[in-house]
Structures are given as C-alpha cells and as structure tokens.
C-alpha cells in the first residue's frame, strides 16, 4: 500500500492522513449530483404512487405530457405551457442580451463617476428579493392590462436575466483591448461599425453564453411567472409548481427528466464555450 504514503500537499501530508477528506468530498459531491437524478427512474414507473424502485415500467407519464391536450390526461395542458415557456425564453434572449450588452459596453468605457452609482442599480434585480419584484410587477401590469400577456412575461424575465448578461459581457470586455476599436475608427470606421466588425467577433463566445443563461433563466423562472402569467399563457414552471404544491403527479417526473436533459445539454455547451473563449 505504498501509494498511501505519497505526499499530497506541500506540507508533506501523506495520502493516508488525508483519506478522510477524499471520502468526505466524494460523499458531498454525491449528495450534490445524485438526488436530482432520482426523477429519471421514477418517470418510467407505471404506478401512480411514488415507489422506488418502480415495480413496473411504462411510458404513461410521457404520454400524459406529450398528449396532454386530451381530456383524459388531466387538467394541465402541459404542451401549451411548454410552448409558452419556450416562446418566452427565446424572446427573453432577444431582449436581455442586446440591452445587457449595450449597457455593459457603455459602462465599461465610461469614465464617469456615475459608474459607481449605476452598477448597483443595474444589478438590483438580482439583489432585491424576487418575491418583491414579482408583486411589484404584478401591481404594475394590472395598471397597464399586461397581466397574463406574453409581453409582460418577457419583460419580467428579461429584467432578471439582464444583470447576468451585464456581468458576463463586462468581464469579457475587461479582458479586451479597446484600443483595437480606436485603430479601426482612426482608419475611418464609424463607432457602430468598429464595434460590429472588431469587438463583436472577439466577444462572441461570451455573448452566446449570455444568451444561454438568459434562456435558462427565463425557462426556469417560477415566481414572476406565478404572479404575472395565467390562463392560456401559463408557463410550464407555473403549472409544475401549482401541481406540486397540491398533489403528487408522476407526470412531473417525466417533465423533470426532460428538463434535466435540456439543462445538462446547455451546461455542456457553455463549458465548451468557456474553454474555447480562453
């Protein structure tokens, strides 16, 4: 067992004396990753009760989800909710990313003393407890008859996604040499052209990952959706939350499995992008 006497740190600690840390870390990592995965076998159970491991297997909960417009499959039109969520998430990308990027560009280049004041205001949607943002928006939308509208949802979700875009793009611009734009402009390019042709291609990976985050932020958002959406424009997270609070419906396990696949896919893409942009 010679490998146990290997030094594993600068202070000459032997692996033997550090084994406990390796075990403990493995357990903590296990607890972080594995619990969410339990929904995958559950989603293939044929039973209505949540027994583990399932005694019989079936696709009935996936059928429930994909054919949810049929009356016998319950009250929730999951497909309509999914369409709403996808539409809102895609539109959120197109609102949050450009607005966040412009603001990041302006804020990074500005030498004004206002910067120190503006930045905390701009990330305030991330700081203020989200429940307050949600009831504030609800009150605001009631005045403008925007409750239950797609526009209201997109604006609400963009509000939460914009600070994330701002932070990602600002950190990309911090590592970018702005003099390159000056060179382009001294050669006769206008500022927008210099930005589009010189800066944009160099920060594009950050922009893509900012878009991914915007999409996911919107798609997973629950509390704002809970207050400002409803009726035909209910989002999938809203329907899931309301169902979860009241009953145990294994259709949720099927939807959860699909959501895990989507978010793991996005995580892999964003990891690849971040390694590429370095």
């Amino acid at each position: 067992m010679g490998f146990l006497d290997k030094n594993v740190s600068d202070t000459q600690i032997k692996l033997r004396n550090r084994l406990w840390l390796y075990f403990l870390s493995a357990i903590i990592l296990f607890l972080l990753i594995v619990p969410s995965l339990v929904v995958i076998p559950m989603s293939f159970s044929s039973s209505q009760y949540l027994e583990f491991p399932p005694k019989e297997w079936s696709f009935r909960w996936y059928e429930n989800y994909f054919f949810s417009w049929k009356v016998e499959n319950g009250f929730n039109d999951w497909m309509a909710a999914t369409r709403t969520s996808l539409l809102v998430a895609v539109l959120t990308i197109f609102v949050a990313t450009p607005i966040g990027t412009l603001a990041a560009y302006g804020l990074t280049n500005s030498t004004s003393r206002l910067r120190a004041v503006l930045f905390p205001i701009m990330i305030s949607p991330m700081m203020v407890p989200i429940i307050l943002v949600a009831i504030g928006l609800f009150y605001f939308y009631v005045q403008f008859k925007m409750v239950n509208s797609i526009l209201g949802l997109v604006l609400g979700h963009s509000l939460v996604a914009m600070p994330l875009v701002l932070i990602i793009v600002m950190s990309a611009l911090k590592n970018y040499d702005m003099n390159q734009e000056k060179v382009a402009r001294s050669l006769g390019a206008s500022r927008p052209r210099a930005f589009v042709e010189i800066t944009l291609p160099q920060i594009k990976f950050s922009l893509i990952s900012a878009s991914l985050i915007s999409f996911l932020t919107s798609f997973d958002e629950i509390i704002i959706s809970l207050f400002v959406s409803g009726g035909d424009n209910s989002t999938i997270t809203r329907s899931m939350f309301l169902t979860l609070r009241d009953q145990i419906d294994p259709t949720i396990a099927a939807i959860s499995t699909i959501l895990i696949i989507i978010s793991s896919g996005l995580l892999i893409i964003s990891q690849l992008l971040s390694s590429k942009s370095k």
Binding site: S9, L21, L24, S25, L118, I131, I167, I222, F241
Partner: protein
C-alpha cells in the same frame, strides 16, 4: 496665436469627450429605463402602499400589526431560524469540499466543479421535486435507512422543517462553494509551506494560516446564502407542506388569498431593508458581482 490655437484645440477635445460621455451613458439608457420602470417605480409604490391602512388613509397599522401579531413574529422567527440553519449546514458541507478542490490539481478541480455546477443549472423545481420523492414516508431514504437498521420505522421527512432544510441546503450549497473555492485558489500555497517549514504541524498550519486567509471567501458565501434564504419561496412552499411559513410565502398569501396589499407591502419592505442591510455589509467585504446567478 499659438496660445489661441491650443485653447481652440482644448475646447474641441473637451466637447468630444463630453459627446463620448453622453454616448456611453446613452447606451445604458434602455437598461436603466427598464430597471427604473419595472423595479424602482413598482417597489417605490409598494413602499407607499405599506403606509396605507384599511380605510385608505395614512397609517402605521401595517407595521404595528407585524410587531403585535403573534403570527407575524412566528413568521420572522421561522424565516431567521431556517435561514441560519441552512447557512450553517452549507458551511459545514461546503468548506471541506471547497478546501479539497483547492488542494488538488486544477484539472481534477475542474471536474469536481462540474459536480457543483450541475445542480446549479438544474431547475429549482426539479430538485425540489426530487427531494419530495426521496424523503417521503415510502421514499428511498426511509426504505434504505430501515433496511440498514438505522431506524425502526419510517420517519416523516417531508412537509415539515427537516424536509425544508434538506432541500434548501442542497439548493444553496453551490452558492457557498463558488466564492469560497475562488478565494481558496487565490491563497498563496507558499504561506502554508512557510508555516510548516517553521515547524507547524499540518493542523496548526491550517488553522493559523490557511483558515484565516479563507475567511473573506467564507463570509461572502455565507452572506449570499443567508440573503437568498431570507427571500426563499418555492422549496419551503413545496417541502414544508404549509407547515413552514417563511416571509416570502406570507407576502404571497397576503396578496393571493386576502388581497391585502398594505400588509404584503409592509412585510416586503421589512424583507427588503434587512436584505439591503446585509448586502451593504457584504459589499464592504467582497466584490458585488459574485452575488446572484440563478436564484
């Protein structure tokens, strides 16, 4: 003549700088307008509503109710109790893992980091639902514990405080690990080496050198977790089964069930002030952009 030219030049330059200044400010305008219209004005309005009594006139009754009513005091106590316990358990689990990750090679640390990021990217509802499934009376945790002889009969984990805590610790743990790990990576390993070359045992070198240097990261993580817990809604609502009522849930039920905007606003204002106070202290300690990300 030369002096005049220089002045002219100076004036033109100043004007250009001024224009530049307005351009950059203009670029942030769409963002500022959205935040102003959708955060600052609505929350200002809620602040105003919190001072309006039932009869529609100015009064402090919404705040008085909070001090006098046992129900509200219980909600404050529950909110703080759950937040403090969650933060404590996150530190207990997060510190060793972050320390481990800071001690191994970057390649392995990045692999472990994926383990931390997976739950971070998985929908909050999915994770909450998973715990609901696991912790039930007939769930996996109970059946394994009974089979192993750890407990004689199934324990009720969900729809109470323990279920809420387990779920919340799982959800908050990455928020603690990320800033803490970043801080630990930045600690110069030579410091610990120096301590041990001067004769400190590994344990002593850790407690007198490494641990004090990791405190800023730990503090940042603790404060982020605590603040997020204070305003938490989804997990306690599902795993608490109506028995664990936190501030955010009371705000929501005040509006959904009782249409009582004044009461909801007053509770919201208190929550906001406490949150901002903690964040203000935090901003004195660490850089602000470590906060947030997928709450």
């Amino acid at each position: 003549m030369a002096v005049l030219d220089q002045n002219l030049n100076q004036a033109a330059l100043t004007q250009l700088a001024q224009r530049e200044h307005y351009t950059f400010f203009g670029l942030t305008l769409p963002y500022l307008v959205l935040v102003g219209a959708m955060i600052i004005i609505p929350i200002g309005w809620l602040f105003f509503l919190s001072f309006i009594g039932r009869d529609g006139s100015f009064s402090f009754e919404n705040y008085e109710r909070m001090i006098n009513s046992k129900a509200y005091i219980r909600i404050f106590l529950t909110t703080f109790k759950i937040s403090i316990l969650t933060t404590f358990f996150c530190a207990l689990l997060g510190y060793p893992l972050a320390y481990f990750m800071s001690q191994i090679s970057r390649k392995w640390a990045n692999i472990c980091m994926i383990g931390v990021l997976i739950p971070f990217w998985t929908s909050l509802l999915v994770r909450t639902y998973a715990w609901l499934v696991l912790l039930q009376k007939k769930g996996l945790v109970n059946s394994v514990a009974v089979d192993l002889g750890l407990i004689s009969e199934p324990i009720k984990f969900v729809h109470n405080t323990s279920g809420t805590l387990i779920g919340m610790v799982h959800i908050m743990l990455p928020f603690l690990i990320l800033p803490l790990y970043a801080n630990m990576r930045a600690i110069d390993p030579h410091c610990v080496k120096a301590a041990s070359s001067l004769g400190a045992t590994p344990t002593r070198a850790f407690w007198t050198v490494f641990f004090p240097l990791s405190i800023p990261g730990l503090l940042a993580g603790l404060l982020i977790v605590f603040v997020l817990c204070l305003g938490f809604y989804v997990t306690p609502a599902v795993l608490g089964g109506g028995k664990v009522i936190m501030a955010a849930m009371k705000i929501s039920s005040n509006i959904e069930l009782y249409f009582s905007w004044g009461a909801a606003s007053a509770l919201g204002v208190v929550l906001l002030v406490v949150t901002m106070l903690i964040l203000f202290i935090a901003s004195k300690l660490v850089s602000l952009d470590q906060f947030g990300q997928r709450s």
